[in-house]
Amino acid sequence: MASAPSSQASAAVQAFAAAHYAESGAARFGIGVAGLVTLLAEVLTQRGSNDEAESALQALRLEELVLARACVAGHERAWDLFLTRYRGAMYDAAYKIAHDETSARSLADSLYAELYGLSKDGEVRASKLRYYLGRGSLAGWLRTVIAQEYVNQYRKTKRETSLESALEDGQQFAADNSETPLLDGRVEAATAAELAAVEPEERFLLAAYFLDRRTLLEISKVLGVHESTVSRKLERATASLRKRIRKRLIEAGMSSRQADEAMQDVDVRDLQIRVRETLGQDRGGLPFYKEEG
């Protein structure tokens, strides 16, 4: 027995499926309207956002979703279409992410195998495409998956770094620069309190710009806004954060001058060392693809 909300959702799904059946291209893969309804219901369940089912449906990349699902089901024609459309793009994206032919090829090949979903013992196919839920474009999803795969591979190889290469890197001679600067407890408390109050988007901006040292251009691409907008937002976030921390420090009993000194900017070179060590995310401070150069 379907519960009330789910039957409601399925009514919306049914209406949506009926209205958009023709453009979904489901017919060419032998999926009927009922099949489309099932497919959509599955996707919404996987997404787990029943309350926004209506808007989620409207923003759905229906045609690409149906194609992906037909591929998961092993439909030959769907695979042909998928390969025609995305194979070149996949290898292209892999190359642009990995920046060298060999690793790009291995990256794309491994992803291709996962997409095709051949299990080792030749049992049930479990294509990775089933994780595509039609939120964005299929091409974008493939790019993101490749980027994920790249980060995974990087992490794996980083962990497997041999002692020799560690020695070559001169790690045993590395100075112990883990000395923690003497932070006034009040400063830390004030910073933590104010940072927690910062909006997630602003925190993302601050982290991307000051920690990851992403350029305004790179950030603007991710957010889909203009660089100048990113610049303005960062400026605003920085200024207001400084102001609020200073205020809090003064409230905690510091004089204006003390507060300013406590917040004094450190040398950026020191900051880099510090950031790299404290990231704690198993990577250097530089983005992966910039390390080679």
Binding site: R61, L133, G134, P200, R213, E218, E227, I245, V268, R283
Partner: protein
């Protein structure tokens, strides 16, 4: 941002960890493509703020994203994509609207200003105001012209982007040598990005046009990107396609049918190669085209080439020889003059004679209503007996159709001068026979005009026959009683009446009455 953030903040930022699990690729991609629901956006942003790895992933993926990896997809599913993109880009659209509103308003203000000015001084010299009107189109024109909007737009934006981005960064990371070295490279990328983004925004605007929104800042602006489509024939946005059609040996093929197909739109244009085998298609939208040529006796040949703006793409087509198809093309049209029929006649019935306008009641007027008949009198024109009209009215001695007709109707009689200087004639199916054998003259030249035959020779001998040599009479050329004694070396008649002969002394005798009188020149 100029001062950066306090060190303590950086520490805390770096130390924070994302408690939840990493968002799926689908969510991250949706985040980058701005197609998530509000809840999802909050979820992903929260995670990204704390998770360096996921930030790494989105930055890696978005770096590729910008380059539009799968252009073919958009073309394959335009309807679907547009429909889905529309709600997805809602977050961005308001900003885009405002960004376009400013230049649009500027254009309208300038145009309105010009109009007001024109209205204030209507009595001013009209050419001046015309020029103004051309330079500053009226609001409706201005807002429907993307060219205008683009010209106004660019100077403002790169300045903003570059001036804000570059100094900030150089201040923020002064020690980062690599980055400052990349500055010029970066500014180049910024420009590229701005270009790309601008064109995307245009595309987005044009797609949002199809579903105009009530909150659109300037409705007039909406028409901007759609306009250029209406004007594909501007020389700036078109190219030509030209070439030559040849056969396998390289010889040109005239009148070949050349068909040009736009590979994107499927639009087809057809033309014919000229006498030199050349063809040309003008005012084409840039893009890929396939040109194919066919001609009778040849197989079809095709070639594909790109047309670029402002250039004439040359694509020569070599036609292979047709294997078996033989097509005989017959063009039929009623000839003006019947050349294969001798009994042409035009009958005038009583009504025509009675009612046709006929000044002076002259019966000869009637003949003028018959085709290819000129004025003339019976008997005077002996050149075309076969064409004599029943009434006795004949065509003039002019080189008219009737003369041609007469010539065509005559049996093919051949004339020559033998090595001994004899005049010889060959009637159809008969051997050469000597004519004027009784004359002692040594002939040097013979000419025919219709049934008229002229033969000349030594000693000023000149003979004329009006019946293809059946009967002859001697023409005596004399000037002031002195007969021409020099040999006739050439005879030339334009028609039966007008002709000339030359003698060995260089004298030229001219007649304009069929040889009855001659004048020496």
């Amino acid at each position: 941002m100029k001062q950066g953030i306090p060190k303590s903040v950086q520490d805390l930022l770096a130390r924070q960890t994302a408690g939840d699990e990493h968002p799926s690729a689908d969510l991250l991609n949706g985040y980058m493509e701005q197609s998530l629901t509000a809840t999802e956006i909050a979820q992903v942003t929260n995670h990204l703020a704390a998770c360096g790895e996921c930030r790494e992933i989105v930055f890696l993926a978005s770096a590729v994203h910008e380059e539009e990896v799968v252009p073919a997809v958009a073309a394959a599913v335009p309807a679907q994509a547009q429909q889905v993109v529309a709600p997805a880009s809602r977050r961005k659209s308001r900003w885009v609207w405002w960004k376009w509103a400013a230049p649009a308003v500027a254009v309208i203000v300038v145009a309105a200003g010009v109009i007001v000015q024109r209205e204030r001084v209507p009595e001013r010299a009209s050419p001046a105001s015309n020029t103004l009107a051309l330079n500053y189109p009226a609001p409706s024109t201005a807002t429907t012209n993307r060219e205008n909007a683009l010209i106004i737009e660019p100077p403002a934006r790169p300045a903003t982007g570059a001036s804000q981005a570059t100094p900030t960064e150089s201040k923020k990371h002064p020690a980062d040598g690599a980055r400052s070295n990349e500055k010029s490279e970066q500014s180049r990328r910024i420009e590229q990005h701005q270009e790309l983004q601008r064109s995307r925004e245009l595309a987005q605007l044009s797609s949002s046009l199809e579903n105009p929104k009530p909150n659109a800042v300037a409705g007039a602006v909406a028409a901007m990107p759609a306009a250029p489509r209406a004007n594909p024939a501007q020389s700036l946005v078109s190219g030509d396609f030209t070439g030559t059609v040849t056969d396998p040996s390289g010889a040109v093929v005239a009148y070949a049918t050349v068909t040009l197909r736009n590979n994107r739109t499927g639009q087809v244009r057809t033309t014919t190669s000229n006498n030199s085998g050349a063809y040309r298609f003008s005012l084409l939208q840039p893009g890929s085209y396939t040109v194919s040529a066919t001609a009778s006796g040849y197989s079809k040949a095709e070639t594909t080439a790109m047309v670029n703006v402002g250039q004439a793409t040359v694509a020569d087509v070599k036609l292979p020889v047709g294997s078996s198809a033989q097509t005989v093309e017959v063009t039929s049209a009623a000839p003006l003059v019947q050349a294969n029929q001798g009994d042409l006649s035009t009958n005038f019935d009583q009504n025509v004679v009675a009612n046709a306008p006929n000044g002076g009641n002259d019966l000869t007027y009637a003949k003028k209503t018959a085709p290819a008949v000129n004025s003339g009198t019976a008997g005077k024109d002996e050149s075309a007996p076969a064409a004599s009209l029943k009434t006795g009215l004949v065509s003039s001695g002019q080189p008219t159709a009737v003369n041609k007709l007469a010539k065509a109707l005559l049996p093919a009689v051949h004339w020559r001068i033998s090595a001994e200087g004899h005049l010889e004639r060959a009637l159809p199916g008969n051997p050469w026979t000597r004519v004027l054998a009784d004359q002692p003259a040594v002939f040097r030249v013979v000419a025919t005009v219709g049934s008229n035959v002229w033969a000349g020779g030594n000693g000023g001998a000149l003979f004329h026959s009006t019946d293809q040599g059946e009967s002859w009479h001697r023409v005596a050329l004399s000037l002031n009683g002195q007969a021409e004694r020099n040999a006739v070396v050439s005879i030339h008649f334009d028609n039966a009446m007008q002709g000339s002969i030359s003698t060995g002394s260089g004298a030229t005798w001219v007649t304009s009455d069929g040889g009855q009188t001659w004048i020496m020149r």
